[in-house]
Symmetry: C2
Amino acid sequence: MGTDGSADRRTVTVNLSVYIAKREQQIDRFLEKCLSAPHGAERLHEAMRYSLFSGGKRIRPVLALAATDAVGGPLARTMPFACALEMIHTYSLIHDDLPAMDDDSLRRGKPSNHVVFGEALAILAGDALLTEAFRIMAEAAARAGSERGRAVQVLVELAIAAGALGMVAGQAADMEAEDRPTDLPTVELIHVRKTGALIRAAVRGGAILAGAPAGQLRRLTRYAEYLGLAFQITDDILDVEGTTARTGKLQGRDLVRHKATFPGVLGMPAAKARAHELLADMLRQLEPFGGKADALREIARFVVGRAIPI
Amino acid sequence: MGTDGSADRRTVTVNLSVYIAKREQQIDRFLEKCLSAPHGAERLHEAMRYSLFSGGKRIRPVLALAATDAVGGPLARTMPFACALEMIHTYSLIHDDLPAMDDDSLRRGKPSNHVVFGEALAILAGDALLTEAFRIMAEAAARAGSERGRAVQVLVELAIAAGALGMVAGQAADMEAEDRPTDLPTVELIHVRKTGALIRAAVRGGAILAGAPAGQLRRLTRYAEYLGLAFQITDDILDVEGTTARTGKLQGRDLVRHKATFPGVLGMPAAKARAHELLADMLRQLEPFGGKADALREIARFVVGRAIPI
């Protein structure tokens, strides 16, 4: 395996950057189209665009498109959903950064939305992005013809993942857990909701829109659940070991605020071992998909590999 | 007409309170059902419920149901939409009251959401209510079978009305207009978006779900547009002439903050005359509907009559 294996790895990694760069371009083009024509709400749109086009990795929309690729469906049908995911993710970052919430002045290496536009407009930009995400999904469902049932199912799953039992609940629980002793089940529950739910919805949505049969959907759902957890664990590791230059965030912030983190609860070596196990689990779920799941495989390696050697 | 007319008026007014009370009960029951089972996000749900069940007049959901009645459709199909409207309205009030926005400590005669739960949870409660509104609509569309097309159309219209070209844009424009000289077109545009868009969506949604033919839908849309404007004009009048006991808000707040208001731009007598004209226009649009539009008629009289004698 030795040299051959690492040569393979390098080739695939290059392909992944090409894959992601291509998908990112498609996503950005679609996002541009969705957000044109501010009609007198210029400042609000400027605030929405500032965070939407601030160099985010587009990991959720890329995941949705990669899941569609894994099932072998057309990408055009998944595109509105992919963009809705990015808008919901972006709204959550804008609101999370607010002084009343996490009070982060830096995001992706740039001043946070409220630092540039003020708190009021940042709150409204978040509200607008969330609402526009559902508008885009609803408009896509209206145009979906015989596929309307699937489009509506994905809309339901997205709303559940983002809402009062999903992402928002995770953020609320995260704040409540600050400055309190936390155990592993609590940390996992917080992150399943805060990060995991939207990642799960991204993969499932891309698969459902592509018409995945039940068995494929089950495997991709498990893949997504492992990925969400791996994403959060490696984020926590980076908060301790990363640098602001690498992460675009002030490091050690979670520690200072006594946030519930995996390294904090498990210890660093066990947290890293857990991330490794999750990578193996993900690759196992993808086996039956063959080459069509290469992008999903590489995303898994990227997410774990950005924090620890794999 | 004299005595007979006023006797009629009294009878219908009593009927309206009975109508509204009955619809309010149905709406509250449905909202209760939608919001059950917080599953570990108890404090968030408490914050959502606090504002959702704080004695709101339920005017938007009642309007949706009354529009369905005017067209002669079944109310059950409109109920999820009606509740989604109230959740979106409630989220907008919670966010509007935040210190960074209008900084109102009193709402419906009770402490505002952030005064009770803190700013962070108030932001999240608003986010969650907005998301849950779309969840309820999407779930209803998923169950709608052959009516799914209509349900999705209403979902699209609601998202447009609430989003970056609708309600949120209106709120952003309203803030920008503070402490600046404003003219009538600007004030109208702000309020068409901030208040009018959701009222329009409420009436249109109730009519579309009931299967209104194009002619009926056109008349009801005009009725809704006049009502939205009348609603804002009378709100502005109440802000000057009302008392905190009647409105549940601190009066004169708009004046103090130099908000763009109709009495401020038109003068009080012209603002009142405008409200009267709008009432006449609304009643004209409803004529062909006969007795089935009685609730819509009485809502129009109530909205105008709460601020000026009609």
